[in-house]
Amino acid sequence: MNCRDIRETISACVDGEASPGEAASVRDHLASCERCRTLERQMRALGAGVRQVRGRVPDRFREEVFARLESEGALPKRRKLFPTAWRWAAVPLAAAAGLGLFLLTSREPVRGPAPPMSVQGSAAALSPEDREMLALLDILEDPADLDANDDAEGMELLLPGGSVDAPTPLGGGRSGV
């Protein structure tokens, strides 16, 4: 087989499309033909060339394709988790639930009158001095008691060193206690 006749078969051989008989003929020819060996190498190189033309997927290609398909109605719509009416109601409902949860978890305890200190059960274990101290604390918890002149008049102030001062009005507040 001469070079002219075998070139197309060399091309098919390069593509792996030659029959076993054709491939054997090509091998025999190439063994003795330098020119066709060069041609065979160049044909293989062209295959690599086409794979270098790769292009690249444009930015937002997917979004644009799907937008066009949806605008044409050619794409099934996504299944919705909720029917349309409930879907619109879901946003305010979720917001309300979130707000309620926030209020429940972040709200400080309501400040009201302090409950009376209970000594039930342990009262018997208290000494008379303890009871007197508790009584004093009860008085001091209520600022109104501090402002009451009649109570203040009956109180004594302890000075540093343990001496007792004469009774004076407690107009300066708690700092003197």
Binding site: R7, E8, S11, A12, D15, E17, T38, L39, E40, R41, Q42, M43, R44, A45, L46, G47, A48, G49, V50, R51, Q52, V53, R54, G55, R56, V57, P58, F61, R62, E64, V65, F66, R68, L69, E72, A74, L75, P76, K77, R78
Partner: protein, 185 residues
């Protein structure tokens, strides 16, 4: 495709995810222009989606997909020709350094497909590819670029296997007439 035909959007998303790169690549190789390739690739997916109701799995999906793709790019090329514009063969997107990690063959190199395709050579190749007759270019691109067998190429192009063999050989001859010096060992 069958699941998509039955109304599964997820099936189409999977199909798109699997094949969109190949479709863009094919459109790029056939048109040689980035914006044309994008337009053609979008059109290909639109045609695939539109064809879903009548799709019949008589061949491999990819064979059918390339048939759709080839028709879409062919229409684009015809429209461009009618408008009197030349279809340019442009370089790839920015960010490519133009040097590809393969080596030039030496005189005794038995693996000549591994050539350093520098930017200039790649550009010349692209130009030469764009100047091939469309049918020859499609046959060569589908076989060497997308890995379709001669038989599959024949189905896509609607010709005989022998015609594919001849087209690919002629495509090689035309490319070599322009690039043989660049590809000489």
């Amino acid at each position: 495709m069958l699941l998509f035909r039955e109304g599964s959007r997820d099936a189409f998303e999977e199909l798109f995810s699997r094949h969109h790169r190949a479709v863009v690549r094919f459109a790029w190789r056939m048109t040689g222009d980035p914006s044309a390739a994008e337009e053609a690739a979008q059109e290909i997916f639109l045609r695939i989606a539109r064809a879903a109701p009548t799709y019949r799995p008589t061949a491999k999906f990819t064979t059918w997909m390339y048939t759709v793709a080839r028709r879409a790019t062919l229409n684009y090329l015809r429209d461009t020709k009618e408008d009197g514009d030349k279809v340019p063969i442009l370089s790839e997107g920015e960010g490519e350094d133009g040097v590809y990690p393969v080596q030039l063959p030496g005189p005794d190199d038995r693996n000549p497909e591994q050539v350093v395709w520098e930017a200039q050579l790649t550009e010349r190749f692209r130009t030469a590819l764009g100047e091939l007759p469309e049918g020859h270019r499609a046959a060569f691109v589908l076989n060497r670029g997308d890995g379709l067998s001669y038989e599959e190429v024949a189905k896509v192009l609607g010709v005989t296997v022998q015609a594919v063999k001849t087209r690919i050989f002629r495509a090689r001859e035309m490319l070599l007439s322009r690039l043989s010096k660049d590809l000489s060992a």
